[in-house]
């Protein structure tokens, strides 16, 4: 909260004295789509440190994390942005689902409670984004209500969208299905796990954020 307040003050003075506002690139999607893995790949590439911890257990990211002043480079061009990793958006959270990942009952309940707050926070932060990378697991059905709700809300707010069709390293991945379902958006097939096609994603980020 204090951090947000401080960021707002900094942005206010930056704008007052004519400095260009640093834009936020948000990472949105369902739990386990690979948002944090992708945000980490970008932040490690350009800043040498991770933004958060990725895990197979859903809802590992339960708070919005912002990494400021990340200078990314592509084809000799530079861009300074803030990376904002957000908790996965879901319509249901059942603590019993976490028990399958061998979490103790108390830990599972705590995680579920924090996850509900994370979803609310992620939705609130939509208004603060300048560009959003919607991360979709291309090995699963992309046409989910959560993806549609996220994209619809970004469209309603006129926030530019890039779809990162993640997990192309998996056999079941079907990037064409993602493209077919969301033909109005720029879709880049990537693997946040092994970095496949990340250069192409940087190129698109530059095009959208220039």
């Amino acid at each position: 909260m204090l951090e947000n307040f401080w960021n707002n003050i900094k942005n206010f003075f930056n704008q007052l004295f004519g400095q260009k506002k640093i834009r936020r690139l948000g990472f949105y999607g369902s739990p386990n789509a690979g948002k944090t893995t992708l945000a980490n790949l970008i932040s490690v590439n350009f800043l040498g440190k991770e933004i958060g911890k990725a895990s197979k257990v859903p809802h590992e990211t339960r708070e919005v994390a912002e990494l400021e002043h990340v200078e990314i480079e592509n084809e000799g061009k530079k861009l300074v942005i803030n990376l904002v990793d957000t908790p996965g958006i879901a319509t249901k959270i059942d603590f019993e689902d976490f028990l399958k990942y061998k979490l103790k009952k108390n830990e599972a309940k705590k995680r579920a409670k924090e996850a509900t707050k994370g979803v609310i926070e992620a939705i609130k932060w939509l208004d603060k984004m300048d560009v959003v990378l919607v991360v979709i697991d291309s090995s699963k059905d992309p046409y989910t209500q959560v993806n549609i709700t996220i994209l619809g809300n970004l469209e309603a707010r006129n926030i530019p969208v890039i779809i990162a069709a993640n997990k192309v390293d998996l056999k079941r991945a079907d990037i064409n299905k993602v493209k077919k379902m969301f033909p109005q958006y720029e879709v880049v097939g990537i693997s946040a796990k092994n970095g496949k096609n990340i250069e192409e994603l940087y190129k698109v980020i530059f095009e959208v954020m220039k």
Binding site: I89, A90, T91, K92, I93, D94, F95, K109, A112, T116, K117, V119, I120, I123, K124, L126, D141, Y143, T144, Q145, I148, T149, L151, G152, N153, E155, A156, M181
Partner: protein, 129 residues
């Protein structure tokens, strides 16, 4: 000989609600109405598509109600723009004027009853637990 115990079949309550009946409610009240019904194990079917903002509000409010008895909702909102003639398009405009929503279908139900709602661009299928 021990008596045979028959497992009671789960009753599924479906409610068809014309969105026009909610048009005088604020969004907050509409969302509260939906959540209360789903907490009561009802599956609601509306004759309109929720706006993305409505969906986001519904998801946010649902999160505030999650506890050990209520794990959230399954939701699916559908609207097809394909192959519409001018009559259908006119109906859409009139419907929007009357209710503030787009024509279509929305299904909202409790996650503890509905396993999954699958959607194709033009159809919905619902799988129960």
């Amino acid at each position: 000989m021990s008596p045979k115990i028959k497992k009671a079949k789960k009753k599924v309550d479906l409610e068809f609600i014309p969105f026009e009946s909610l048009k005088n409610m604020t969004l907050q009240k509409q969302v509260k109405f939906i959540i209360e019904k789903t907490k009561d194990d009802k599956i609601l079917i509306f004759d309109s598509k929720l706006t993305p903002e409505d969906e986001a509000k519904l998801i946010s409010e649902t999160m505030k109600h999650i506890n050990k008895n209520f794990s959230g909702i399954e939701i699916c909102s559908l609207y097809s723009e394909k192959d519409k003639d001018w009559i259908d398009k006119s109906k859409d405009v009139i419907f929007k004027l009357l209710t503030g929503k787009s024509r279509g279908t929305s299904i909202i139900g409790p996650a503890k009853i509905i396993k999954e709602i699958k959607r194709n661009p033009d159809s919905i299928s619902m799988q129960m637990k």
